[in-house]
């Protein structure tokens, strides 16, 4: 999460970029090209960055155990670590095109399978957290803007900024100690009650209870940025001439707000939402660790300590691709929504 997101409208996509006159096709092609470039960068970085990580994966696997030199050689051969880096890279590329991310060293299973296993929980956590914080942020944002300078405004801006300043893992731990450990309101970790065989509604209920604390932790820390951006862009809209006209026409205040100001102010905010999703997914690493959530973030972190190259590459590529694709959609959406661009 970048600090600049608290600043507001500037961070939203600058309008000047693909000029207003460009055709739809050209616009999409440009954006797609950019995304493709980022994807290629990710694929390259995914391979080479992790190769220079210190630590011999085989020796780490053997750490503290009775392992012979021959065994370690067998493992190196099995993982292809005895081959030159360029050969390993070729194998990585060709595998990637076949949708194969290789086999994890630690888990002895295809990386794709491991990632798919954990993708669901991570999407559930970040998805609900994102949805709730967007809704909360936008709603509070427009109310605070409308009542600028009021007690309501000051209190909410203050609360949001304070929560935004809290380290996520620390807040999570306090929530866990208070609501999980001391008050016993919620489970202390995991996604379902261990060993439970519940299905249907009971299962949903169980997951919901486990989801509450980690989700609220994420929401508390991130909703401030949506609030701030919404507030800022609404304030900008409110000084616009057309609102004065609208009022002059005798529209009621909340109609003015609902029909005119809010929809226009939403525009820069939408792009920001997509931009921040990357940060959200990254933030999942710490929340997942604190609440033992069986997700992708924690898997990445585990893979680092091995280091489990194929798993690291896999999670990195998947993480980044999700964000890059999201961004691409944001650009398209922006074009669709912005009337100034649409008319071209």
């Amino acid at each position: 999460m970048s600090a600049s997101q608290l600043v507001g409208a500037e961070t939203a996509k600058d309008l000047d970029e693909p000029g207003r006159g460009t055709s739809w096709l050209r616009y999409v092609a440009m954006k797609a090209g950019g995304s493709l470039f980022s994807l290629v960068m990710v694929v390259l970085l995914g391979f080479f960055a992790f190769r220079i990580l210190p630590g011999d994966p085989v020796r780490s696997l053997a750490d503290g155990r009775q392992v012979t030199a021959e065994q370690m050689d067998i493992l190196r051969k099995q993982y292809g670590l005895d081959q030159p880096v360029i050969a390993q890279f070729w194998r990585y590329l060709t595998d990637l095109f076949r949708g194969n991310l290789g086999d994890s060293y630690t888990y002895n299973r295809p990386v794709m399978e491991l990632i798919l296993d954990r993708l669901g929980p991570t999407l559930l956590l970040t998805g609900t957290a994102a949805a709730l914080s967007v809704v909360l942020g936008l709603w509070l944002g427009q109310r605070t803007a409308w009542r600028r300078g009021s007690m309501f405004d000051k209190a909410h801006t203050g609360i949001a900024l304070t929560l935004w300043s809290v380290p996520t893992f620390w807040l999570g731990l306090l929530m866990l100690l208070i609501f999980g450990g001391t008050l016993h309101w919620f489970p202390t970790g995991g996604m379902v009650t261990a060993g439970s065989t519940a299905t249907g509604l009971a299962y949903v209920w169980d997951v919901a209870r486990h989801l509450t604390l980690p989700m609220l932790t994420m929401v508390a820390v991130v909703y401030a940025q949506y609030l701030m951006v919404m507030r800022a862009s609404l304030l900008e809209e409110m000084s616009a001439d057309y609102l004065v006209t609208a009022r002059a026409k005798g529209l009621r205040e909340d109609q003015v707000r609902r029909k005119h100001a809010v929809p226009n102010a939403l525009l820069p905010t939408v792009t920001l939402i997509f931009l921040t999703l990357g940060g959200l997914i990254g933030g999942a690493v710490t929340v997942e660790t604190v609440f033992s959530w069986p997700g992708l973030g924690y898997l990445t972190f585990q893979a680092l300590s091995a280091p489990d190259f194929p798993l690291l590459q896999g999670t990195f590529v998947v993480f980044s691709s999700i964000v890059i694709i999201m961004n691409f959609f944001a650009d398209i959406l922006y074009r669709v929504l912005d009337p100034r661009l649409r008319t071209a």
Partner: protein, 309 residues
């Protein structure tokens, strides 16, 4: 208006002209300061920050290094707050308050240095992306986009594992992953500035790229960069603690992040030693909040369209 370029460096001959430029600058600074002072929350943030920085600078006087030498400590381990140790002691018997003061040094150092790295990269790349055209611009834009979308924390984790532990590593990792936002802002500002008439006049007069960037663009983007920077410091302080929490920090230097990490690792949270878990966390919240308040205040002063936010 003719560009006041280069005069400051020759303060001997053209005295009257310099004074005009300098005075205008001074006057503008005074205005900014007055406007800033009218923003109460920003002012409070600034005062608190000044106090914290003061405490950090005075650390060797307030809590001499010997008080942190575990072999000379007489206080018990994990003692609750008392008059002798107002914030209790850590698992080695060191005063948490003393550690907090020393920790402020490293945390703020990381915050400021990482921000400096990020600001420099962001400003240079952003200005270049706005100033140049064609391939250079395209390449730079892609680079910015890439760093904007790659999950920062994941990249920082990778970076800090590669470079190895240490305060420098954290600074570099945070700096490298957080510049893209600044670059984007700087680029838009650069585009705005360069579309103004006086720049075109400079071009016509045969000014070089370097001249335009240094004399016109940089001064124009600087205020915005500064405001943004203040916000980034807060983020960097949080990022430091997050990296420490994930075990990528430097446990051998006392920072708020490494204190929290040590507290959690030794089980202080469930052991009931709340003073050790809450103090560094609250310190982080307080300082980050102050940076945020100051940053927002600065911003609304510099960018009048945001006034009243």
């Amino acid at each position: 208006m003719s560009a006041p370029s280069g005069q400051e460096t020759l303060p001997t001959n053209k005295a009257p002209k310099i004074n005009v430029a300098a005075a205008r600058r001074r006057q503008r600074a005074g205005e900014v300061w007055r406007e800033f002072c009218s923003n109460r929350s920003g002012l409070i943030g600034l005062v608190v920050l000044a106090i914290v920085i003061g405490l950090a600078l005075l650390a060797p006087i307030l809590a001499p290094a010997e008080t942190l030498d575990v072999t000379r400590i007489t206080a018990g381990q994990n003692e609750p707050p008392s008059w002798a140790n107002p914030l209790g002691t850590d698992p080695s018997g060191r005063s948490v308050l003393a550690m907090l003061i020393w920790g402020a040094r490293v945390s703020l150092l990381v915050g400021f240095s990482a921000t400096a790295v990020s600001m420099v990269i962001g400003t240079v790349v952003g200005m270049a992306a706005g100033h140049f055209t064609g391939w250079t611009q395209a390449a730079l834009m892609r680079l910015i986009d890439f760093f904007l979308v790659v999950p920062g924390l994941v990249l920082a984790i990778v970076l800090s594992s590669i470079i190895g532990p240490g305060v420098t590593t954290i600074i570099v990792a945070i700096g490298i992953t957080s510049w893209a936002g600044t670059a984007r802002i700087v680029r838009s500002q650069t585009l705005t500035v360069e579309s103004r008439a006086y720049i075109e006049r400079s071009w016509a007069l045969g000014a070089s790229n370097a001249h335009i960037i240094r004399k016109h663009v940089l001064p124009a983007v600087m205020p915005l960069v500064l405001a943004n920077t203040t916000l980034t410091v807060g983020s960097a302080v949080i990022a430091e603690s997050t990296l420490s929490f994930l075990g990528l920090g430097d446990p051998s230097s006392i920072s708020w992040g490494s204190m929290l990490k040590m507290a959690l690792d030794t089980g202080a949270a469930t052991g009931g030693f709340w003073w050790y878990v809450l103090s560094p966390g609250l310190a982080i919240v307080g300082v980050v909040l102050c940076f945020t308040l100051v940053g927002r205040a600065l911003e609304s002063v510099i960018n009048p369209t945001l006034r009243g936010r």
